[in-house]
C-alpha cells in the first residue's frame, strides 16, 4: 500500500480527449507517492476531465497511463477502484432514500446467508463516518435528512473507506463549511502520511498553502505551469489560469448605505429559524456567516416564502410589513433569490439559456398569454451581454454551461425582473475564480443602483471580499454582527461559541 515517498505512482502521458471540441490536448502528469498534487484551472480548463480519465469514468482518446509498473487503462470507475484509484465525484452520486450505512457500502454490503448483516454494516459505517467527523450521526438515518455539505462528507467517507493508493478529489470543499473543510484537510494529510497519493482538483486559491505539495495549472486543455509547494503568488496563478493579468481589487468600495430595503422582524420557523430580526439597506451587501446547519439557508428560504414561517414579518422598501406566503408574493414585493442548489432549484438544466433567463412570473415579454418571440430573444441576448454569460448561443441548454455562467443566468433573470432585494445562498459555490469576480462585481453594481443584498456563504474570504456587514448565525439565531474589518478568528469564534452552549439541540452540536 505505501510507495516509497517520491517515487512516481501514477503517470499519465500525452492524454488527449475531445467531446465535440478538444478538452484535453496532450497533457502529461506525474503523481508521486505521498503527495497532494493540485490541479488548478478555471472552468473548462479540462481539470475535471483529466481527473475523470484517471478515475476510469471516461476513456482517453489518446495517451498512456501507468500505475506503478503496470499500464493503467480502467474501463470503468469500478475497475479503477479495483486497481486502487478511487475518485470522489463533484456531482454527488448518492441515494437520498437509503441510510447512510447503505450509501457507504452499497456495492459491498456485508452479508450472512444472503441477508444483509446489519450489525457489521452499522459498525463499519460508524468507523467510516468518524473518519470525516460525522461519528455522531446514526448510520441508519436516511441520507435525505442531511444537507448538501454533509452529503459531500459522506461521499468522501465512502471513498476513504476503500483501500486506495490514489485518491482523486474533484472540488471536494465546494459544498463544505470552513470547519468541515479543515477536517477534510486533516484527513488528507493523514492519508498522505500513510503513503496515499492525492489528486486534488480545485479552483480555490486559498486552499493551496494548506494542502498542496505540487500545483499543476491547466488552461484550455493544455498544461501551462507547475509549481512545487503550495505557496504560489495568487496573482501569478490567476494570470496563468486566465492567460491575462489578474483583476485586482474587484470588490469596489461601497457607496454609503441608504434607506432600509429589507426589514425582517421576529421571523420564526420551528427550530430552524428563531426570532430573527435584521435590516438590509440600499447600497449594502450583508453577509450571513455560520456553520453548516446554523440556519442560513432556512432563513433565506423563509424570508422568500419558500418555506412557511410560523411568526414574524418581512417588509420590502416602503411596502406593508407581513409574512410572504409564497415565492410568488416575494417576487411581487421585489425580492429575488439565488438558491443554494442552483442546478435543482434555480435552473431547468435541459432548457435553453433563453428560457431560463426569462423564467419570470407573467413572462414580461408576452402579449395576452402568447410569447412575443423576437422580444424574448432580444431580452435574452441583452441578459447574455449584460451578465457576460459565456454560451454558444442563447439556445444552448444551461446544463452545458459552467457553474459561473449558470449563476450569471439566474442573476440576470432577477436583475431583468427589476427586483430591489436579492437573497443569495452560496452564490459562487462551484464557480471559478474569474466568474466569481464577475458575479461579485455585478452584485456590487446592483446595490450601487439602490438594491440590497443578503448573502449567505460558508467561505469567509467571499464574505470579506464583498460584504459591508456580516451577521453570524448559530442554532437558527443571529448571534453576532461585524462591521468591515473583522477577522476570521472573531467570526469563527462567534459561530462556534454560540453553537456549543446550545448543543442541547443536536443540530448545533453535530454540525
Amino acid at each position: 500500500m505505501s510507495a516509497p515517498a517520491g517515487a512516481v505512482v501514477l503517470r499519465a502521458e500525452g492524454i488527449s480527449k475531445a467531446w465535440s471540441t478538444p478538452v484535453l490536448d496532450r497533457v502529461s502528469l506525474d503523481l508521486r507517492g505521498g503527495e497532494v498534487h493540485v490541479l488548478m484551472g478555471s472552468n473548462g480548463a479540462g481539470k475535471s476531465t483529466l481527473a475523470a480519465i484517471l478515475g476510469g469514468l471516461v476513456p482517453a482518446d489518446a495517451g498512456q497511463m501507468t500505475l506503478g509498473p503496470i499500464p493503467h487503462a480502467p474501463r470503468s470507475r469500478a475497475a479503477a477502484e479495483a486497481a486502487g484509484v478511487v475518485m470522489v465525484l463533484q456531482e454527488m452520486n448518492l441515494f437520498p432514500g437509503m441510510s447512510l450505512a447503505e450509501n457507504l457500502f452499497l456495492d459491498r454490503l456485508p452479508s450472512r446467508f444472503g441477508l444483509v448483516d446489519r450489525a457489521t454494516l452499522h459498525r463499519r459505517a460508524v468507523v467510516a463516518l468518524e473518519r470525516v467527523g460525522l461519528g455522531e450521526l446514526d448510520p441508519r438515518m436516511p441520507l435525505a435528512r442531511l444537507g448538501v455539505g454533509k452529503r459531500q462528507l459522506v461521499e468522501i467517507a465512502r471513498a476513504l473507506d476503500r483501500r486506495c493508493r490514489v485518491l482523486i478529489l474533484d472540488e471536494p470543499t465546494a459544498a463544505l463549511s470552513a470547519r468541515e473543510s479543515d477536517l477534510l484537510f486533516d484527513h488528507i494529510r493523514r492519508l498522505v502520511s500513510e503513503g496515499v497519493s492525492v489528486v486534488y482538483v480545485t479552483h480555490r486559491l486559498d486552499e493551496l498553502p494548506r494542502i498542496a505539495s505540487r500545483v499543476s495549472v491547466l488552461r484550455d486543455g493544455r498544461f501551462v505551469a507547475e509549481h512545487l509547494g503550495g505557496n504560489v503568488a495568487p496573482g501569478r496563478l490567476i494570470e496563468e489560469m486566465s492567460g491575462r493579468a489578474s483583476p485586482q481589487g474587484s470588490a469596489a468600495a461601497s457607496a454609503p448605505a441608504g434607506d432600509v430595503v429589507l426589514a425582517v422582524a421576529g421571523l420564526e420557523r420551528g427550530a430552524r429559524v428563531r426570532k430573527v430580526s435584521l435590516e438590509v439597506r440600499s447600497g449594502e451587501v450583508v453577509g450571513l456567516a455560520g456553520l453548516v446547519g446554523a440556519g442560513r439557508t432556512e432563513l433565506l428560504r423563509t424570508i422568500f416564502g419558500a418555506d412557511p414561517a410560523s411568526a414574524g414579518s418581512v417588509r420590502v422598501g416602503d411596502g406593508r410589513a407581513g409574512l410572504l406566503r409564497s415565492p410568488r408574493q416575494a417576487v411581487a414585493a421585489g425580492i429575488g433569490m439565488l438558491p443554494e442548489d442552483r442546478r435543482h432549484d434555480g435552473l431547468l438544466l435541459g432548457q435553453s439559456m433563453r428560457v431560463n433567463a426569462l423564467l419570470l412570473p407573467g413572462q414580461p415579454r408576452a402579449r395576452s398569454g402568447w410569447i412575443d418571440r423576437p422580444a424574448e430573444r432580444r431580452a435574452a441576448e441583452a441578459i447574455r451581454t449584460g451578465m457576460e454569460v459565456d454560451c454558444t448561443s442563447i439556445e444552448q441548454p444551461v446544463g452545458q454551461l459552467s457553474g459561473g455562467n449558470q449563476q450569471k443566468v439566474v442573476l440576470g433573470r432577477w436583475l431583468a425582473a427589476g427586483c430591489r432585494v436579492l437573497l443569495c445562498d452560496e452564490p459562487t459555490r462551484g464557480v471559478d475564480a474569474a466568474a466569481k469576480g464577475t458575479i461579485h462585481r455585478l452584485l456590487r453594481e446592483f446595490v450601487n443602483r439602490g438594491g440590497g443584498v443578503l448573502l449567505a456563504s460558508g467561505e469567509l474570504a467571499e464574505l470579506r471580499a464583498i460584504c459591508d456587514r456580516v451577521l453570524v448565525m448559530a442554532g437558527g439565531r443571529i448571534v453576532a454582527e461585524f462591521e468591515r474589518g473583522w477577522s476570521d478568528e472573531a467570526v469563527t469564534a462567534a459561530a462556534f461559541e454560540s453553537a456549543v452552549p446550545t448543543s442541547v439541540e443536536k443540530a448545533g452540536h453535530s454540525s
Binding site: P96, G97, P142, A144, R145
Partner: protein, 325 residues
Amino acid sequence: MRHARSAGWLGLTTVIVSLVFALGQGGCSRPAGPGNTSGGKADGRPRIALVMKSLANEFFATMADGAKAHQATAGNRYELITNGMRSETDVSEQVTLIEQMVARGVAAIVIAPADSKAIVPALKRAADAGVLVINIDNRLDPEVLAEAGLKAPFVGPDNREGARRAGEAVAKQLDAGDEVAIIEGIVTAFNGQQRALGLEDAATAAGLRIVARQSGQWEMEKANGIAAAMLSEHPALAAILCANDSMALGAAAAIEASGRRVLLSGFDNVPAVAPLLADGRLAVTVDQHGDRLAVEGIETALAILAGAAAPEDRTTPVDLVTGKP
C-alpha cells in the same frame, strides 16, 4: 422527503378506500339477516348467491334485475346476494367472490363463470364446504368438472344451437359460395367457442365461404376496427356474423361507414339493437332470455335444496329475433 412519503401513504389509503367502496357498491344488494349466518339460512330462508361476470355488461345487468324482481315477487322465499365483477375477464376476482360467498354461509351459488376451466377449483372448494353450485350461462368444461369431481348442474341455453339458427337465418338470404366473416368473442370462454362453432355450422351447411375470422373480445370498439378492416380487405363480403350484440353494434357502424350492404347477425338481443332490427341493419339476433336465465338457475337451486328435484342439467329456450327484411 418525509412529507412526500406521508403524502404517498395518504394517496394509497385514498385509493384503497375508493376501491373498497367501488367493490362494496357491486356487492350485496340486500343486507344480511341480523346476526344469523348458520346453515345458509337467514330467518329460515335459504341464502342464495348469484355470481355473474361484469355488471357493466348489460346482459348481466338485465340478468341481475330479473333475479331481483323474482326474489321480490316470489314472496321472499329466499335471500338473494348478487355479485358482479369489474371486468369481463378477471378470473381471480370471481374466485375471490366465490370464496367470500362461502364465507358468508350461502346455501347455493348460482354462477355465470368468467372462465370455463379456471373457476372450477374454487367451485369445488365451495361444494366441499357444503354449498350447492348451479352453473348458468357459460357452461363449465365437462372434462375439468369430471377431473375435479365436481357436480354442477348446468341451467342455460344451448349457445351453439342458438348461434347456428342465427347463422341459418342469414344464410337463407345468401347464395352458396358467398363470402362471410365471423367476429367471435373471447376465445377462451366456452360460450364464445360454442357460438363460433354454431355460426360455423350454419355457414358450412349453407355452402358459404368463411373468409375472415377474428376475435372482437366481446367489445364494441374492437369489433368496429376489425369489421372495418374486414370490409376493406374483402370487397365481396356479404355478411358479418357476430358472437354478441355489442360487437354487432360496432360492426354495424363500420358497415355504415363503408356505405356497403352487408348482412349482420348478433346474439343476446340487448335493448340497444332494437333500432337496428327495426330498420334492418341487423338481420337477426338471438334472445336467450337473460332475465329468465338467473331465475331458472335460482329456481333449480331452490328445488334441489328442497329435495324436490334431482341435480341435473336443464336447457333453457332461445328465440330468434329477426329484423326487418
